[in-house]
């Protein structure tokens, strides 16, 4: 399986993602934001970080970079595109997934482990994941997912919510919502579910010595689903 990780000026989880993808069998290429062409890929990842310093709005300027037109075309043709954290913020700025990401409710950057419940498994990202609940890691200042009521209805009607923040037993309640997201949303799909944006970093959960191993589970499953 071939993957591409896009590096924007200010990306800082690009290497971590490269390590994770390779660990689970992807042949990964790093792609520079100023390139026009996307290498042939089965998966394109927009990594975490602070592209363009998060200035103006997170992800806004990266969404205008040269490579993004190719990424958008790739996604529109059904290609798998995954945006993690800042990558999710870039995805919403391009409009590939609906909504926006606002500043965390408590106005503070937050870095910790969280639990998320998988909402939909009829997609290539979560199909065949046995667990209902995963322990992931978040590190962000702007992960407070917001959309209009109409959008929310559409998202729910199409089952576009990918994962919700919850407790270790899968309870989705306000007190387990780290950033104020509507409906505890931690990640969403586009309508066709080939594009996934999520705040948690599975690439930081690929080793027992690190924060945990549920990221390994996610990546192992992902590459199998793509085969």
């Amino acid at each position: 399986m071939k993957s591409s990780v896009i590096t924007f000026p200010g990306s800082n989880c690009d290497r971590d993602m490269d390590v994770a993808l390779k660990k689970f069998g992807f042949k990964n290429k790093m792609v520079w934001h100023a390139d026009a062409e996307l290498p042939k890929s089965d998966l394109v990842v927009l990594p975490g970080g602070f592209s363009y310093g998060d200035y103006l709005r997170c992800g806004s300027m990266a969404s205008k970079s040269k490579i993004m037109q190719s990424v958008i075309n790739f996604a529109n043709a059904g290609g798998m595109v995954m945006g993690i954290c800042n990558g999710f913020q870039i995805l919403v700025e391009t409009g590939l997934v609906p909504g926006v990401l606002l500043r965390n409710k408590y106005l503070e950057f937050i870095c910790k482990n969280v639990f998320v419940k998988i909402n939909d498994k009829k997609n290539k990202y979560f199909k065949n994941v046995h667990n209902e609940i995963l322990e992931f890691h978040i590190a962000h200042n702007e992960g407070n997912y917001f959309c209009t009521n109409d959008q929310l209805k559409e998202i729910e009607d199409n089952n576009q919510i990918a994962i919700n923040y919850c407790d270790e037993n899968g309870k989705i309640e306000d007190q387990f919502n780290p950033n104020g997201s509507i409906k505890n949303i931690a990640g969403i799909f586009n309508k066709e579910k080939n594009v996934l944006g999520m705040m948690p970093h599975p690439e930081r959960m690929i080793d027992t010595s690190l924060s945990g191993e549920d990221g390994s589970l996610f990546f192992k499953n992902l590459i199998n689903n793509l085969k």
Partner: protein, 80 residues
């Protein structure tokens, strides 16, 4: 009455955001820009009815909270 305040970075203070926005706009083809500076805009709806008093109060708010006078200036836009 509504009073507006614009807060900007002082003239010689580096504005990292403005700088990067400028570069991005240039990258998008807007090549005639000299400089971009980013600021903040506030609308304060006050119960005060006297123009002068209201302005004085907002000025105080700027000095005490809204602006960081070490690096920022403020400008009050008078109510019409």
């Amino acid at each position: 009455m509504k009073i507006s305040v614009i807060i900007t970075l002082k003239k010689d203070v580096l504005d990292p955001q403005g700088k990067v926005i400028h570069q991005t706009l240039e990258g998008m083809g807007y090549d005639s820009i000299n400089e971009v500076r980013q600021g903040k805009y506030f609308e304060i709806d006050t119960k005060e009815t006297d123009n002068v008093k209201a302005k004085a109060k907002v000025e105080e708010m700027c000095e005490k909270l809204l602006a960081n006078l070490v690096i920022e200036n403020y400008k009050i836009i008078e109510p019409k």
